[in-house]
Symmetry: D2
């Protein structure tokens, strides 16, 4: 029931602080025989690396992943796969204000209240650096899922600006610094984010992650629902404040006639052809065989260049201003993290589904 473990059969335990010795994860329950090496995982990790455009933090995080166990002769052995990323640049610094003051919107105050102590360096355990471990684990999860399941993420809203879904083109996603599937929106965002960045401000975003190739039948009633695990997974990502499946919150405004996805016989590998996908590929907590569609909202990062009212650890009123490099829209780098979390949930449910089936 470890709070730092995610998943039941394919389970990932992460550790590490932003400015500690190292961070990483141990993957337990990984099926044997999967071809994994450091280059493969590194390639996934590099997708969330900061500093790849002017729209993400210019902080240097040369994260190099190291496989500590569970892989032999190039394939997984079925025993725990432990992955480590050393924090190369942990020289003593002046942490200035953040040691003694609680940054508004950050977890500084709540960690302090919970534990009576906190590793304030770079946010400690609450830093988004932890998500590197998830992306590394997600890379292994993708191997479990195999080539039939394809997971892709996209940024669909930045600040108040949503994409035009009619323009959706997956090929665009790698052609702009935003993982944006709408070329027009990407251009608009460029201007918008330049403003935000220059103002030392920040903005929120919405990410959509889609899985193709998930067969019908994954997931389980009642508290093991695929959508429940998706919601939990996404809500564990730093700064996420909302999650929705398929139609999501918009479903509240629909009628039953509009919302329920009708079925027709068709040429779909034995399964029905659904005439719409308001459900986002999940009914009763179990996959329908359609695309699994999950969306989540990321709040604006609370590290901004404007002075903010807060209290210090002695309870006195004070102000704080977070200097240094920061992400104008932390949602951008969250796209690969959302993909990784979906991969973890699906791999876990794939194994759980297998586990309950008996041929008799």
């Amino acid at each position: 029931m470890s709070g730092n473990t995610f998943g039941k059969l394919f389970s990932v335990t992460t550790f590490g602080e932003s400015h500690g010795v190292a961070l990483g994860c141990t993957i337990d329950g990984c099926p044997p025989g999967l071809a994994i090496d450091e280059e493969y995982i590194q390639a996934q990790l590099d997708r969330r690396k900061p500093g790849q455009s002017r729209f993400t933090t210019q902080r240097r995080e040369p994260d190099q992943v190291k496989i500590l166990s569970g892989v032999f002769d190039g394939v997984t052995t079925g025993t725990p796969v432990s992955l480590m990323i050393e924090n190369v640049d942990q020289r003593s610094k002046d942490y200035g204000d953040i040691a003694a003051k609680f940054r508004p919107g950050h977890a500084d105050y709540t960690y302090w209240q919970k534990y009576g102590i906190r590793d304030y360096r770079g946010g400690g355990r609450s830093s988004a650096r932890e998500t590197a471990s998830r992306v590394a684990a997600g890379a292994v999860a993708r191997k479990v899922l195999g080539d039939d399941v394809r997971i892709r993420g996209a940024l669909v809203q930045v600040g108040p600006h949503r994409i035009n879904r009619d323009n959706w083109d997956w090929d665009q996603v790698n052609q702009n610094p935003f993982w944006c599937p709408d070329a027009e929106a990407a251009e608009l965002w460029t201007g918008y984010l330049d403003e935000i960045r220059k103002a030392g401000s920040s903005t929120g975003a919405v990410i959509e992650v889609v899985a193709d190739g998930v067969p019908a039948g994954w997931g389980a009633p009642i508290y093991g629902k695929l959508d429940s695990d998706m919601a939990a997974a996404m809500m564990t990502i730093n700064a996420v404040k909302g999650v929705e499946i398929g139609e999501g919150f918009d479903a509240a405004a629909l009628t039953g006639e509009e919302n329920a996805d009708q079925m027709r016989t068709g040429d779909n590998q034995g399964g029905p052809v659904f005439q719409s996908n308001h459900a986002g590929g999940i009914l009763g907590g179990i996959s329908t065989g359609q695309q699994v569609v999950v969306r989540f909202a990321v709040k604006p990062t609370s590290s901004i260049l404007t002075s903010r009212q807060t209290i210090d650890i002695s309870g006195n009123n004070t102000e704080i201003l977070t200097k240094g490099r920061h992400d104008p829209c932390v949602g951008i780098r969250t796209v690969p993290v959302g993909e990784a979390m979906m991969a973890l949930v699906l791999a876990d449910h794939m194994l759980r589904h297998r586990g309950q089936q008996v041929d008799r």
Copy 2:
């Protein structure tokens, strides 16, 4: 890792189908010494009972809860509290079309794909009747939390019609059949839902659940975050398609200046006075001491009086029309369920928080 168990230390395992012999739950990890009796639990159960107005199904469900174990001399003993609700009206019926056809928007098709068999009577395990067990368990969870923690739910949107939050009055909630905190909205909804009901249609809704009195420090990094468990909890409720905390999806459109809640010293039992609550009472997965605010969207029930296209279990095209009494807005009866799920999450985290603390 049971799919039908919810919670880690205060854990609830539910069982039962809509038209089976009985349904209920076993609560494990309940602290000893709490005063519980059947009348107390029944009062909570009755809040979600159908047929209390013309806006909920007219189906008769005279659910009587029975305590099977774990209570002695009127108080909990620390051993499992098992609660049972017998299905009194399980006479053999003509289940007509639903045995052979998959109802669009329901879990019929996915259960069939997963298990190769399904109890089609009234939806079997996927029926919202299962939520009675949650409300019963939630009543026990409220006893764990004690009087200092107060959990209240309200309906804040029906179909496309949202409440005016300026009108919010908790006293209104028990004065209309919708748990609506806005008297004006309640009136508008009356007309809207009468239309929906007469048309044999249905509509979605949004529910907000708020907890007062949660101390700072509950919740845990990283996958044991309070908001992650809240999201998982709400997403397990039938028909829920989205969950958000505090500002939720609207946070995407805000800037860091607007979103991060500033703190000031004040008269707040030692804690700071937050100047806003965009966070919904949770930062870094841990409670801040403010109100915990969770919102979730419920889709329109898929049981409507309009004929819908589907396939049968042999894979042939067909149509289905769900006759009989149904909920025009299933979201109404979901309000007490949302409260119960929040109570379960908070009680569990209260115990988990206690568990990790050592006086030394």
Copy 3:
């Protein structure tokens, strides 16, 4: 992490006190499509029923099992299977001394210390009546395992008297009231237990449970070892004080030459022919394909007709004498319980093994 749940994928949550309303269990993760009915489970339950000879308690426990959920059209549906046994004879009685005094060797004192309250009627939750739930669940587990796996238990020691293993004959097990595989020992035990019984005394025993047909490969490193789960399972049974696998404690006195089981190619369905089975069918926590052999020791029941020194709930010195019908050797009725626990462990590991395998 519920203390009243056993198993990971095939998981059983039990509830109920000796003299409460009912006791039973909810089985989660049960594969769909298994033929189960009340008669089948009842037949297993009847094997542990008291009063079948003068060597078990003459208490009347007409336990009738009722299936509350999870079975439809005669087969499991994949949803929770809930089983209930009502306590038919729970009329108010004079519980006399046991309400106010702690019986030596029983859990009275420890429950009191832990919870500050205890259901003293018949031992409450700590009564061996709880094992009825296990036997019922074990019956379902046997269906999961199928006919290829055969689980049989036997009593191999009563008081100081061990069987002669050269006389082992499984057919004898059902021909004496002791589940004894050695006809000569059974005769000796008859006399010995008559003495114990007439003296109002009690004695301990050792039970051996053996599974045939377990394929190589079930179990998992390191804390999910098959033998670790067997040890945990048996140690949860009331009055058990020791568990061993294969050679067990005798292995301490052996040399490596004597103990390690050599292998030869042979006619064994592709597997090797082991030349001995000191390992008890488990190496490195994983099954070898040989017989799985588990043995456990049961202490003498502490309910005897001799007055014993103890304290009362106010902390005063006093004496207690447990009147009424009791088991001279509670180990006898534990044989079907040991079989059930082995079935639960094996069914769980069968599903867990399936879960981690991926065909790629």
Copy 4:
């Protein structure tokens, strides 16, 4: 439900192979504020280090533990404590026979059957080197327990030679290379083990671990029993084949009069004075406040200098002889491991007990 995780609230996930890059563990749920540093953990680790006498393997394992996370300013922060031990000497070697042949009594064959692949270098994951992680984690667990709880282990049998319990003297334990509390037995074992060693043979052993200072009330019914978790814990240790609590298997030969521990009022911090401790400090799965006494049997290591019959990975008959340094009695080095496992179980139950209590 990870197979490589131990514990519920204080939970330890281990990783690593004998000859891989590194091994270690992540401790989750550790209370904040405990003073921990590498020196402290190292001192515990050094107790199980090989090569400290001629009676343990002469293999050089200069295990240096490194704290990767969870400790800040010298104390635990409440976040995961990750510990790593690098395998300094992992140069490519000739693994000779063990790559292609299954060593009798080792896990070679079962890993092969389970996973279809195995890291044969030094036994891979099934090597007793994994227990270094446990000892490191156990050192942290001792800090959770504090000074009031004292855990000590001793070797009480080597081969067929048991200690004389009348000679028991804890001070002797550190004055011989066997952790033997009986000076006479230690002398006898010296001769016996020299013979075993010179013959290239091996022998089994029995270890006893005792905890003083455990308060009454730790543990939980029914499947969360303290003794059940102790049994599981010890049975996960390499080569362990049997576990017993208190009187253990000898309880089978006792009568109820002999076995049940009587109680008297006395000067015992409010608790009763037990007149004996056949129960080993646990009744009904819950601690009594007496010494907790656990004993376990270790089989002789299967690595011996005598040629043994086996098969190779192609299924052909062959022979194998395990050259190189080995432990004549692996039980000796298991003493600190048994202590560590007891510390893990107790720390976990301490937190679990706290978690279920509510002051109301």
